[in-house]
Symmetry: C2
């Protein structure tokens, strides 16, 4: 996708690795960006602090939308129900099933699409990536394609579009892109547990560590466990 200078877009940023790199990428492509984050009562609220810091550093307008009212409805997931343990296993479908918040990404995308219409933006940038494919159905390209048909119909706007440039990229490829773009990785947060340091053992920590290792990089984040870089 070539740079489309000045075209307005909304980046959904969690404060994690992927969506932060996505924001840098979208700005690098020349889009005029508004950033949007969601507070849905997630356990890892530290992510939101990272999102705020990144947007402040980049001078990007940033809104945090409180949708914690939906928490009660979707409370079967370990990410929103603090009574359920986050699994400390490798990042596979079976181990991570408990972290699925049903239809979460569709909800966030649809709010972002409404916001885009409201500010006259045509694009919503979404950081779904290939590693999530097996676990989260709403991170798959076929979901993104379908959302795009629905969004155009819902808003009667054939130019409205969800753009997911990482949907076929692995986490390691995204980290490589982040390095190219000079993203300060220390300002991102991935750990599902939200402690002082990253736990290093939950699925998303393991995945993050591996992505840095594949690139021969050292993650600047502090971990509770000793990691061999």
């Amino acid at each position: 996708m070539p740079g489309e200078k000045g075209v307005k877009g909304v980046v959904i940023i969690s404060g994690g690795l992927d969506s932060t790199i996505l924001l840098y990428w979208a700005l690098h492509q020349g889009y005029s960006i508004h950033a949007l984050s969601f507070d849905y009562g997630q356990r890892h609220g530290k992510e939101l602090k990272c999102a705020r810091k990144t947007c402040r550093n980049l001078g990007v307008k940033h809104l945090v939308v409180d949708i914690s009212g939906i928490r009660e409805l979707l409370a079967s997931s370990a990410l929103t129900n603090h009574g359920i343990e986050v699994p400390e296993e490798h990042y596979t479908h079976e181990s991570q099933k408990i972290t699925i918040v049903p239809n979460r990404n569709a909800i966030m995308l649809n709010i972002a699409l409404g916001y885009a219409v409201n500010i006259g933006a045509e694009k919503v940038f979404y950081a779904a990536h290939y590693n999530d494919r097996a676990i989260y159905p709403d991170c798959r390209w076929e979901f993104v394609e379908s959302v795009n048909v629905t969004a155009k119909l819902a808003c009667d706007n054939p130019r409205l579009e969800v753009v997911a440039p990482f949907v076929h990229k692995t986490k390691a490829e995204i980290v490589a892109l982040g390095r190219e773009l000079g993203v300060p990785f220390a300002d991102t947060w991935s750990c599902y547990k939200g402690g002082e340091k990253a736990c290093g053992v939950c699925g998303t920590c393991r995945e993050r560590i591996e992505a840095f290792q594949i690139n021969g990089l050292r993650d600047p984040l502090e971990y509770e466990i000793e990691v061999e870089w």
Copy 2:
């Protein structure tokens, strides 16, 4: 659609005429129903009171989800931005454009779909109807069909479905159905203005009055203007 006794479903109820009749219809079909309403900072909060009353009377479990956090994002509509006047004209595309809350119904449907997954329900009942077709793109059958493809993908559940039995019905036909089902019309609210009595002149009041008139019925609601029944 035949009754599917005991199949669990979620009815999205605003407290207006159509969604209240929909709830009666779904119960009559034999579904086991949870009702869901949304508080999105709408001007006509009186609707929500009606929804609560109806569910209490029917003994239906009812949740009201606060999504007023999205109001700021979608604030270009007269329904959510109290600084914009509700148009006092007939119910046409041009006059009602200002009441479009961008992507609102897609947002509500997707939250309801997440809730459905969470409680093991397969159906989300949605009161979109034919009169809204010209004005609100997210009330059209092609939108509903597309949402259904997206929802199955998003939740990896081929049985999950939005059911919109009124999508080809006019408001007058829905009122006729409501009479058949014995719906207490006095417990519904349509007026966009949310005053003590219904204003009788906003688009939705005009449409409601006409639907009763076509059926030779008198609306039990009190109106600020004199209506010939």
